[in-house]
Structure formats: C-alpha cells, structure tokens
C-alpha cells in the first residue's frame, strides 16, 4: 500500500470526524494499527480538530460533569451538600442539644475548611509541577526527534560524502557534505565554525562545469544544515562567508572550507 497517497486522499480526516460508512471506517482502523505513519497522521488530525472545536467553547467549566456524576449517582460536589430537612416544633432540651451539636459542627467545619484549603494549595502546586514536567518531557522529545532525523539523514546509504577541510584563512574549520544521490538532497555538517561578522551568513556552493552554483545559505553555527537540492556533475563544494541572505557569486577571499568530490 502507498501510505503517502492514502494519507493525501483525505480519508483519515473523514475517519476521525466519523463521516465514513462503517465498513470503510473498520478498514482504516485496521490499517492504522498496521502502519505507524497512519497512526501519527490520525493523531495530528485529531489534535487539530480538538483545538478547532475548542475555539467554539464559550464557558469551560465542570457544571455538566458535576451534573452527570450526580445524575448517575456517582460521587460529586453536589452530593456533599446536605438536604434541607423541614423541622417541627422542637422542645427546649432538644433545642439546646441541637444548638450544641451545631456549635461542635461549626468548629469542626472550620477545621475541615482549613484542611481543605491546604489540600487545594497542594493540588495547585502539584498541578504546576506536572505542567513543568510535561513541558520538559515534550522539549526532550522534540530534541530527540531532531537528533534522530539528523542521524537518519547522515546514515542514508544513498549519500555521497564529501569532506571539506579548512582553507588557509581558517585552517580549523571543517565541514562534511552529505549528498543524497537518489533525492539530490544536500545536508551539511559544520564543525568548528570560524568567527563570522554580524549580519553575515554562510553559503554553500557547488562547482558544476567550473561555474559556482548556489546550494543554500545557513547560519554560522555548528551542526547539521539541510540545504538546497543539487543535480549535475559537481567537481567541488565550497563554503564562503556572505552578507545576510547570500550572494549571487561567491566572495572567493571569504572561503572557509572547500573539498573535491571523489568518484
């Protein structure tokens, strides 16, 4: 099955919104258990639909939940509120006893109220902690995904590797070009980036038939940069320092690394 075509057909959106006939929906459910890409796409669609509908919600509160729990006879805030019971004429000793009981109950309520407040504060504190932890985990997941993707790019067996050592002007600089021969995508791993004047960026050039062709601009930071796709017979790759946004022709005296394509 072509997963990409299947995703692009729009069937997953209809599935999540419940607009497919039962048989088709079952088929999507079955396939989504088989293909993780479908599962991920379905989750993204669902998340967007949730947020879309949330914009239509005017009064987010728990009234309906409390109502439903009470209706179903499950515990709820409403259940703790005592019923008002009608009182008949009470005799004096009973009135005294009742007053005393009320007094005791009031003191007790005060104590319980204090405890409740402390518990509420604790709940707030824990919720805040939970949020922070969740954010940390999300951040970690994002950076892990990034690394994983970078690794995938680098490890691709279709890659042609070109080492670009530093030039005389910046002997410590070092870069590696990963050129995918199937998709023609280019990724560049930058190491030991030299000092670059402000409002300047780095630009990769592919020399094809003796002519430098722009292969993309990137910020002067170490790490993996995904650049433009390049097709054709490249003899040399080189990186130069150029004004922000890149130049039409390379500034040759600003070349920091260069390397010839072997094979």
């Amino acid at each position: 099955m072509n997963v990409k075509e299947y995703i692009e057909s729009g069937i997953l959106e209809l599935y999540v919104m419940g607009a497919l006939p039962a048989e088709e929906a079952l088929e999507v459910a079955r396939l989504s258990n088989q293909y993780p890409d479908l599962q991920a796409e379905i989750q993204a669609i669902e998340a967007a639909l949730i947020r879309y509908a949330e914009l239509e919600c005017k009064n987010p509160d728990d009234r309906a939940l409390d109502g439903a729990l009470a209706e179903l006879g499950l515990q709820s805030k409403a259940a703790t509120i005592g019923k008002v019971v009608g009182m008949r004429k009470a005799s004096f000793p009973w009135a005294v006893a009742a007053s005393l009981a009320l007094l005791v109950s009031l003191v007790g309520n005060g104590l319980l109220f204090n405890q409740l407040n402390t518990a509420k504060k604790e709940v707030n504190r824990l919720e805040a902690l939970e949020n922070t932890l969740n954010q940390d985990v999300l951040a970690q997941q994002t950076s892990f995904k990034q690394l994983e993707n970078q690794l995938k790019t680098i490890e691709n067996p279709d890659n042609l590797l070109v080492k670009l050592p530093g030039t005389a002007g910046s002997p410590n600089a070092l870069a590696t070009v990963y050129w995918n021969q199937e998709t023609h995508e280019i990724a560049l791993l930058m190491r030991e980036v030299p000092q670059v004047p402000t409002a300047h960026q780095l630009q990769l050039w592919a020399i094809i038939d003796g002519v430098p062709v722009d292969a993309g601009v990137f910020d002067p930071v170490n790490g993996l940069h995904t650049l433009k796709n390049i097709t054709g017979t490249v003899t040399t790759f080189a990186v130069t320092i150029e004004p922000m946004g890149g130049s039409v022709n390379p500034t040759l005296d600003q070349m920091i690394v260069a390397g010839n394509v072997v094979g």
Binding site: S9, G18, A19, A29, E56
Partner: protein
C-alpha cells in the same frame, strides 16, 4: 508518574476506566475533551444553557454506552463526537429548544451576546482570527462534516460536488488548521 502518563495518552486511561466503570473516566473526558465537545455542541445548538444540558446528557450517555465502545473499531474521540453531535441535534428538535428560542427577545439576546463576548479565552483571540480567515470553501465542507455530522456522501450531495473534491477540501482545510495550530 500516573498523572504524567495520563497527560500524554489520556485515551487509554479513559477507555480502561470506562470498562471498569470508574467515574475517573468522566473526569478525564471533561479535562481532555470537555472544551472541544462543548464547542461542537455549541456550534449545533447555538445556545449556552442548552449546550451545558446537552453536554451533561452526552456524558451520561457515554457512561451508559461504554460497554458498546470498541477501541479496535474506531477512535475514542470519534465515538464521543458522534454521541455529542447526536445529542445536540436531538436537542434542536426538542421542546426546550423551541421555548428557549422563542424567549430570545431583544433584551435576552443582548444579554447572551455579552456573555459570549466576555468569556472568550484570551489565548484564543489570535487563533480565532486566523481560523476565521480560512478559505470559506474549505470551512463550509469541514463544518458540514465535523459539526453537521454528515457522512461524506451526504455532504457531497448537499453541496453538489464530486466526492473527490469534497475529500480534497476536507484534507486541505485540516492542513490549514494544523498550520495555524502548529501541528
């Protein structure tokens, strides 16, 4: 750790709580899906108090129908959306609905409008504008299927467009939304 896990995958927890008839299920549904479900209902009934009523009814139905839900056959979200939409649509056919509509004289109308304006969530303002700016052609199809609960066949017939066009528009509408929400 339990709280952390339920944040990332509330679905599994809700399903197992539902199976075990643990009220925690309804609480988690309210926490993770409450605002979305209220939004869907509100879009259908267009009335604040009736939205609350229908949402409460929907929660009760979910609890009672939990045995019938099978995670192998569809998403929890889809199941809940179906229940809420059906309840909301039934609501618009009820006597309550007609009465509420009739007493919406100019005075109460102003009151309702004010209530709506004041309670908009501040973090939604920018997003709301972006969503309002969506191509009406995409939004029409999306809303008819999502809030209107039409099957793709019904929507295509109603809008008099080929099924393929409808699917493409639904897909494109969703892609625009995902762009706006950064997903």
């Amino acid at each position: 750790m339990f709280l952390l896990a339920s944040f990332f995958n509330p679905e599994e927890h809700i399903v197992s709580f539902l199976k075990n008839q643990d009220p925690q299920a309804l609480k988690l549904i309210q926490k993770h899906y409450g605002r979305a479900m209220c939004g869907i209902i509100h879009k259908v009934v267009q009335h604040e108090a009736l939205t609350q009523d229908a949402w409460q009814e929907s929660l009760v139905k979910m609890w009672k129908a939990s045995e019938a839900y099978d995670p192998q056959k569809g998403r929890l979200f889809t199941w809940m959306v179906n229940i809420c939409r059906r309840t909301a649509i039934d609501k618009t056919r009820s006597k309550d609905y007609r009465i509420e509509r009739e007493i919406r004289n100019p005075d109460t109308f102003v009151y309702l409008e004010m209530e709506t304006t004041e309670s908009i969530q501040p973090d939604h303002i920018g997003l709301k504008e972006m969503v309002d700016g969506l191509d009406p052609k995409l939004k029409e199809v999306l809303n008819l299927v999502y809030f209107g609960g039409r099957t793709h066949q019904e929507a295509a017939e109603e809008l008099d467009m080929p099924l393929g066009t409808l699917k493409t528009r639904v897909r494109n509408g969703l892609l625009e939304l995902r762009k706006i929400f950064g997903q």
